[in-house]
Amino acid sequence: MDLSLSDEQKQLQESAERFSREKYTFENRRKIVATERGWLPENWAQFAELGWLGMAFSEEDGGYGGGPIETMIVMEQFGKGLVLEPFLPTVVLGGGMIARAGSADQKAALLAPMIEGKKQFAFAWLERQSRYNLADVSLKATREGNGWSLSGHKGVVYNAASADEIIVLARTAGSAREPKGLTLFVVDAKAKGLSRRDYPTQDALRASELTFDKVSVGADAVLGKVDDAFPVVEEAVDRAIVALCAEATGCMDAINAATLEYIKTRKQFGVAIGKFQVLQHRMVDCFTNAQEARSMTLMASLKIDDKDPMVRAKAASGAKVQIGKSGKFCGQSAVQMHGGMGVTDEMAVSHYFKRLTMIDLMFGNQQHHLTRYSNLAMAA
């Protein structure tokens, strides 16, 4: 056993760390948030150039043969900088599902240009009633000639406004909430009948509500097997969860560092407030929480390639529970220890807090994954 990074992985870590530090200063980030897209094409081009968009894909898929550890390394640094480029929806989710379920033609048409930085994706699965149940999908796809017609609604679709293709989870058979009967479609973002309402999110990302009104797609739009998308989606989401956990560890490191610096320098009653034991112990708990989060993220990154889907699911849910718990503790504590400054927009700490809060709500919060983990663990 060896849990240390290879030389190549260390290089990757250094270059991702440098990117966040240089391109995502607090003031720079503010400017990026204010742009029309909410992220910078020049940064995306740099990701392509550095090989980050293809690092986790196999060489036969046009990638560079890395895996979840490479994704973990980069996502962690993205968390430190609160990076806004749509890496998760495009590469981890979109690219991940295409690599797992796509035909050779689809990989050539979608994955290759994605790795070159020329295509972006969004993943539309959530509906108003879905909460965290990936099978609670009612957007309908019905056969129409050789192809399909999609009608229904999808919500909180990250990166839909910038994506070239939307990967849509639709019901092709079965009843509500039945895992069987779901199919993935790759839909042109400019397809006729597809309308969008765009908005920023609490954590300064971009998302959209999508309405599909008889959107026609060809038979070649189906990603994977008809009626059998659920295992693909579940695996892709578990991978996205692990990537999010890595991002959250980066956020926690940054928010803890900022808080530590603050309590060392902020003086009240004639001393640095970090001299008060009540704050010392809380700060220690923040560091312990971040350590646990890092450990669970590493565990999940190592197990997410396991052949047994139960092992994968348990690893992802376990890590997500830890991140939910640790993220909330570090976020709330950082705000509290910063006092009034912690709730202002002008301090970075509130922005990390918001991101950590939203990470908990994405793809199932702490409670949801505790239930899922407990079902998996007790069944085994």
């Binding site: 959530l126 108003r128 009633q129 909460r131 965290y132 149940n133 609670d136 919500g155 909180v156 509500a176 909430r177 309402r197 908005y199 920023p200 999110t201 609490q202 954590d203 998302a207 509500e209 003086k267 009240q268 009653f269 004639g270 407030i273 008060f276 009540v278 704050l279 709330q332 705000v335 509290q336 006092g339 009034g340 912690g342 709730v343 202002t344 927009d345 002008e346 509130s350 922005h351 807090f353 918001k354 809060t357 939203m358 709500l361 994405m362 919060n365 409670q367 239930t371």
Partner: protein
């Protein structure tokens, strides 16, 4: 000992409810009910209606123009106002500077300032914290130097709530730099229109503007605006903070918050069933409701002691601690109930009251901003760490 209301108290409750229903402007009620942001005029219309009835300063004794409510009446009044979606009464005049003036002020000051507070014709704000003086309030450095019959005030105040709407500010200023920090502080009333005052907004994590920095640049304040004696302002400051901490428990608002949370959990879906039927989530709400009940009965015990002639003691700090944590927990669970639909950030709808269509249900876009904003409750009015310090020292003798 009897928990039930007497027939007189029941009659009073009916009277309060009838009054609120007849006098709370419908548009203001709707805003409160739907979690919209209120503007100055919304508060003023309701407070002036209460002022006419003599109930705005419902905590004041009769001799200063208050209604002299019993603890039971006070409890009834606060709860019914919350149940009927009345906006919270702005405390700066009614619960803070008003009692300071009638306790420490001169007859002339009482005559000049109290009627306008009782009738809500003047909006007050607070000048306590400074950038370098938060938890350690007594270290404040905004100075007031005597120049004939005026003080010249220089310095800055921060976390000034709603000062951009205020006519007057009450300030703690340093009038003596030589003695111990607590002994050189004075309590000054300053007209916000005085030349040399600048109000600069602080934008909060939820994107809203409710607090400010206030800068004083050679601001001339007549010496008759000093309340109490020079260098004895700390007495007024402590008196005011104890009063502030009492209201901060916000029990009626939290009761309303728990009910609103249940309503949301009845609408939100979880695996095809209402979320409220999810055992884990239902137990979280139940736990919260029990916490609110414990807080409510602690507050009732404090009020009952006060009715027997006691002064609010360090128990009040305990109310602040639990009250603020409960307010936060409500927002946390509300956001959990809303789930991923908390993500859309709609500043127009949130802050300007535009007609923008919400994303998902009406309540969804409010959940996360409230959660972020409510983190302030364990910080303001003396952080919870400070409150615990007070209890360990004053109550436990540690």
């Amino acid at each position: 000992m009897d928990l039930a209301f007497t027939p007189e108290e029941q009659k009073f409750a009916d009277e309060v409810r009838a009054f609120v229903r007849a006098n709370l402007p419908a548009d203001v009620r709707d805003k409160v009910k739907n979690g919209k942001h209120l503007i100055r005029d919304d508060y003023m219309r309701w407070q002036q209606a209460l002022g006419k009835k003599g109930w705005l300063v419902y905590t004041w004794p009769k001799k200063h123009g208050g209604p002299g409510f019993t603890p039971a009446q006070r409890y009834i009044f606060e709860n019914i106002c919350a149940e009927e979606y009345a906006p919270g009464i702005i405390p700066f005049g009614t619960k803070m500077v008003g009692p300071v003036i009638y306790t420490f002020g001169t007859e002339a000051q009482k005559e000049k300032y109290l009627p306008a507070i009782r009738e809500s014709t003047v909006w007050w704000c607070q000048g306590y914290s400074e950038p370098g003086s938060g938890s350690d309030l007594a270290s404040l450095r905004t100075k007031a130097e005597k120049d004939g019959d005026h003080y010249i005030v220089n310095g800055s105040k921060t976390w000034n709530t709603m000062g951009h709407w205020a006519d007057w500010i009450f300030c703690l200023v340093r009038t003596d730099f030589k003695s111990k920090p607590q002994e050189g502080i004075s309590f000054l009333l300053i007209d916000m229109k005085t030349p040399g005052i600048t109000v600069k907004p602080i934008i909060m994590a939820d994107g809203g503007h409710e607090v400010n920095e206030v800068f004083f640049d050679n601001v001339r304040v007549p010496v008759e605006n000093l309340v109490g004696k020079e260098n004895e302002g700390w007495t007024c400051a402590k008196f005011l903070l104890a009063n502030e901490r009492l209201g901060i428990a916000a029990v009626p608002q939290s009761k309303r918050g728990v009910e609103a949370l249940k309503d949301i959990a009845r609408v939100e879906q979880d695996n095809g069933r209402p979320l409220i039927e999810n055992q884990s989530f239902a137990e979280k709400i139940a736990d919260l409701e029990i916490q609110v009940t414990a807080l409510e009965f602690t507050e009732l015990r404090v009020l009952s002691q006060m009715a027997q002639g006691g002064q609010p003691g360090a128990e009040v700090s305990g109310l602040k601690i639990r009250g603020s944590e409960i307010q936060q927990r409500i927002t946390e669970l509300t956001m959990e109930a809303v789930g991923e639909y908390s993500a859309p950030y709609l500043p127009g709808l949130l802050w300007q009251g535009t007609n923008e269509e919400p994303v998902g249900p009406d309540y969804a876009h409010l959940a996360a901003p409230r959660y972020f904003n409510t983190r302030k409750t364990t910080i303001y009015g003396g952080s919870n760490e400070i409150q615990k310090g007070i209890i360990s020292k004053m109550v436990l003798g540690l």
